[in-house]
């Protein structure tokens, strides 16, 4: 009986010795770090501003 317990303990800790560090490393790997450079990008100018230069070029 005691031997069975020793085996169960050993088995559990072998699994945890792989799983727990893997979990920690995975966490550190996918941990989000914000970008350091400028991140806000204006994709389109407001409609009003965009139309104004276009109108100007036609004149």
């Amino acid at each position: 009986m005691q031997r069975r317990h020793r085996k169960t303990h050993a088995c559990i800790w072998k699994v945890l010795a792989i799983f727990l560090p893997a979990m920690l490393i995975a966490a550190l790997a996918i941990r989000q770090h914000g970008p350091t450079e400028r991140t806000a990008v204006q994709l389109e100018k407001p409609a009003a501003e965009a139309e104004a230069p276009a109108g100007g070029s036609e004149q």
Binding site: Q32, G34, P35, R38, T39, A40, V41, Q42, L43, E44, K45, P46, A47, A48, E49
Partner: protein, 262 residues
Amino acid sequence: MAGRAPDPGFFIGYLNSVPRSLAIFLVVGAALFVGGMAGLAFALGTNANDPGDGAFARKLGKQEMTGVLLEKPYPILRVRPDANNPEPRTVMLTVPGKRSVERRGKKFFGQVVDVKGFMFQRGDIDMLQIQGKKSLQAAEAGEGEPPPAYTPAPAESLGRWRLIGEICDSKCHLGAMRPGDGLAHKACANLCISSGAPPIFVTQEEGAVAGETFLLLADEEGGPLPDSFRDYVAILVQLEGEVERLDDLLVFKVDIDRARVF
């Protein structure tokens, strides 16, 4: 063999005598344990992230304001300028607890109302917690005055933007809780948002759009965000959409399909 190992003294718990060498070991161990725990408490306790300057601004006292109550994307008040605040402004609204303004506000949407309550403030963004008796009612005319009317300025488009940041619930992030962001707070943020607190986008870069860091979130049509958006709360995400200015409040009308985890 056990018999040959140096014997630190055989300990039997229920006999009150403890061998002297073992007693010394245990006393030192106990001191190290208590001291170690105290040291760890101090190290972890002082190691907090700055939760920001958001706070329930009770010291400002009870605020009273008049303006147009809008339903979408979330209950907001386009505040009519007055003598104290000559500039028009827009404040997000909440009620005490994690509850929506909607139940009390629905019969007034689109109308000019008088509201009373206390402010949550963080940086230059604020939110009014409607609180107290007669704190939300149709605006009353002063004696000899015409019925109050107010037409807020139309929304001003600031163009289409791609921004990186975190979706938070406005109430906690503005000071109901410090910290009011991050994964530990995610479920609370979800609960607040689904209970009616307006979600805000906190840009990673300070002052990312027109000098603002906080933007009220909406879907592309200007309505509330869908429930599926809860997966994006409390983590760094990249969102795209049109930014509109309502007085001093920016609204980020995000393209739901283009949202992604950063």
